[in-house]
């Protein structure tokens, strides 16, 4: 219709090449997780042995003790993080959105700081503090969970606060005009309105935690607290069997599952309150490093 800009053939080509470059290596890695042989570079037929192979061989994700324990550790950490960071973040978001007094501004900055701090700095900081000051906190699951929660809270705040602003106070005020007490208004009006943002937060925090590498590595205790990304890191240069690819693929599927759930929840919110979908997308994708 309005093709006054000319056909973007060059741009199309660059974009297509970029997409191929960005996805083909991963596609190959996934392909070889299904290799029938032990090689990760020559295809020997299809098999799911690296996912669910013989228990006795201990070679598959399901039965290799180190892969299985990495999967379990990642899931446990993600669940703990999700269950603690989300309520903390939601409360903080509500507080920060409405608290106008002294301290509100600095609290807001404090909340934003973890977002802009490079992960290695946070890893070093947490390592040193658990090593020197809070040494009642054991390295491993506890320290890792504390670290994950700390960097997740701010994401929850960003997501939830966006929704809070979109909702505004009209609904609550209307409820109170109809006779509800302020507490009732919050419990019966505000919280239900926040549910989709809450769900999105759960999913995003889960994805952030399960994808994290740096914090998990800095706060590691021993082999049994290795997470999937740490396992990929330590195994990648050791010419591992395709079971490592299988583990990576499992992680990918879990992450995508969580993000899709988050996306659905966000979309639902977006529809109801006319929020900017692009900005929601940005929040979701932004810090997934």
């Amino acid at each position: 219709m309005r093709n006054q800009w000319g056909k973007p053939r060059g741009l199309l080509l660059v974009t297509a090449l970029y997409v191929l470059w960005s996805l083909i290596p991963v596609a190959i890695a996934i392909q070889f997780s299904f290799n029938a042989g032990r090689s990760r570079s020559s295809w020997q037929g299809f098999s799911t042995q690296w996912y669910v192979g013989e228990p006795a061989d201990q070679l598959s994700v399901l039965y290799d003790p180190s892969l299985r324990s990495a999967l379990a550790q990642s899931l446990v950490l993600a669940l703990i993080t999700m269950l603690i960071a989300t309520p903390l973040g939601v409360a903080l978001a509500i507080g920060l959105a409405r608290w106008r007094g002294r301290g509100a501004k600095s609290s807001n900055f404090l909340m934003l700081f973890p977002l802009v701090t490079p992960e290695i700095v946070m890893g070093v900081a947490l390592f040193l503090v658990f090593d020197n000051l809070y040494d009642f906190v054991p390295f491993g699951t506890v320290a890792q969970a504390l670290g994950h929660i700390t960097f997740s809270i701010s994401f929850v705040v960003i997501i939830v606060r966006g929704r809070l602003l979109a909702i505004g106070r009209d609904y609550e005020e209307a409820a109170m005009d109809l006779g509800a007490s302020p507490n009732d208004a919050m419990r019966r009006v505000l919280l239900p309105l926040l549910t989709p943002a809450l769900l999105a937060s759960f999913a995003i925090v889960f994805a952030l935690s399960i994808d994290d590498f740096v914090i998990s590595q800095f706060l590691l205790a021993g082999a049994d607290t290795v997470t999937i990304p740490v396992r990929l890191y330590s195994g990648a240069r050791l010419a591992p069997p395709p079971s490592l690819n299988a583990l990576a693929t499992v992680l990918m599927v879990i992450t995508i599952g969580a993000i899709v759930l988050a996306g659905l929840a966000m979309k639902y919110v977006g529809k109801r309150f006319g929020a900017d979908e692009g900005s929601a997308l940005e929040t979701v994708g932004r810090f997934e490093i």
Partner: protein, 309 residues
């Protein structure tokens, strides 16, 4: 009836007691103080601390009046003219080259998908978003696999008749830089995409109606309007790149391609007796990225403040 509404200093506009909102914020604020601010301070306490002579490990000094600047001074001395200086320069060079490549490759991609992709836009968007959902380490591991001596890259090059191939993973600057580009470019494209997406078509049409050519329109209208997206994207990728240690470790492992993050990782995770050196280097790193951090901090803050109005 909410008779108490709007009157009296103890209540806010929806009749909630004033202390209620801070009370909501308190658990999160306390958490962040204990597990973000205090740890942050611990970096300084360890860098400026002492060494326990028997256990041979750093003892943090929490009181700034007793800070011991020996280690920090040594690190700074080494940074200007010593070995650390070389690592720092290499880190800066890697980050700048990789970021420049991200702009050169990422801009056309973001531009195409946001403005020119036509009815397949959703599919292109999905494709450029896909790397977000794939773990960074998995994406690096895929390249380790492809670039290994018997990997697909060498298989392919052999097949087309190129022999005597190098070991790609044995310390090549270019491999590490391209690895960084590969790893971080999606994080550059997304904010840029969002910025380009917000440009109103009418603005561009107006430019053309006023007689501007395509390239004039691009340089005088689109580019200036997307500059904040480019800046935002650059900040987002440069922050983690400066602290990266896993990419050079996976794609090279040679001292030749060491970055600042590798040295920090070494002193914190491996040679814990030198933890104060690691902490001092972390401060150096923060100084490097302080400008980026502040820019980012204030831009997020501005965005949320605007949304609030």
């Amino acid at each position: 009836m909410p008779t108490n509404l709007a009157s009296g200093a103890d209540y806010d506009t929806v009749g909630q007691k004033r202390w209620v909102w801070p009370a909501f914020a308190i658990p999160g604020v306390v958490w962040l103080c204990l597990l973000f601010l205090v740890p942050f301070y611990a970096i300084f306490a360890v860098a400026m601390g002492y060494i326990d002579p028997i256990l041979n490990r750093p003892v943090p000094e929490w009181n700034p009046f007793y800070w011991n600047l020996t280690v920090f001074a040594e690190v700074l001395g080494d940074l200007f003219g010593g070995q650390l200086g070389q690592i720092a320069l290499r880190t800066i060079a890697y980050v700048f080259i990789a970021s420049a490549l991200c702009v050169v490759i990422g801009y056309p991609v973001a531009y195409f998908v946001s403005r020119r992709a036509g009815r397949w836009r959703w599919l292109w968007l999905l494709l450029i978003l896909a790397p977000f959902w794939i773990n960074y380490l998995m994406r690096m591991m895929s390249w380790v696999n492809l670039l290994s001596p018997e990997g697909q890259v060498n298989q392919f090059l052999n097949a087309i008749g190129i022999q005597n191939l190098p070991d790609w993973l044995a310390g090549h600057h270019l491999v590490v830089i391209l690895g960084l580009v590969y790893g971080y470019i999606p994080f550059f494209i997304l904010p840029l995409f969002a910025a380009l997406d917000r440009i109103d078509d009418a603005t561009l049409e107006a430019s053309r109606d006023l007689g501007a050519s395509n390239s004039q329109t691009f340089w005088r209208v689109t580019w200036p309007l997307s500059r904040n997206g480019v800046l935002g994207g650059l900040v987002i990728i440069m922050l983690p790149m400066f602290g990266d240690y896993y990419t050079p470790n996976l794609l090279s492992g040679s001292p030749r391609t060491r970055m600042l993050g590798n040295t920090i990782d070494q002193f914190i995770n491996q040679t814990t007796s030198q933890g104060s050196v690691g902490a001092a280097l972390t401060i150096v790193l923060m100084v490097f990225v302080a400008g980026l951090m502040l820019y980012y901090l204030f831009s997020i803050n501005r965005a949320t403040e605007e949304a609030r109005r």
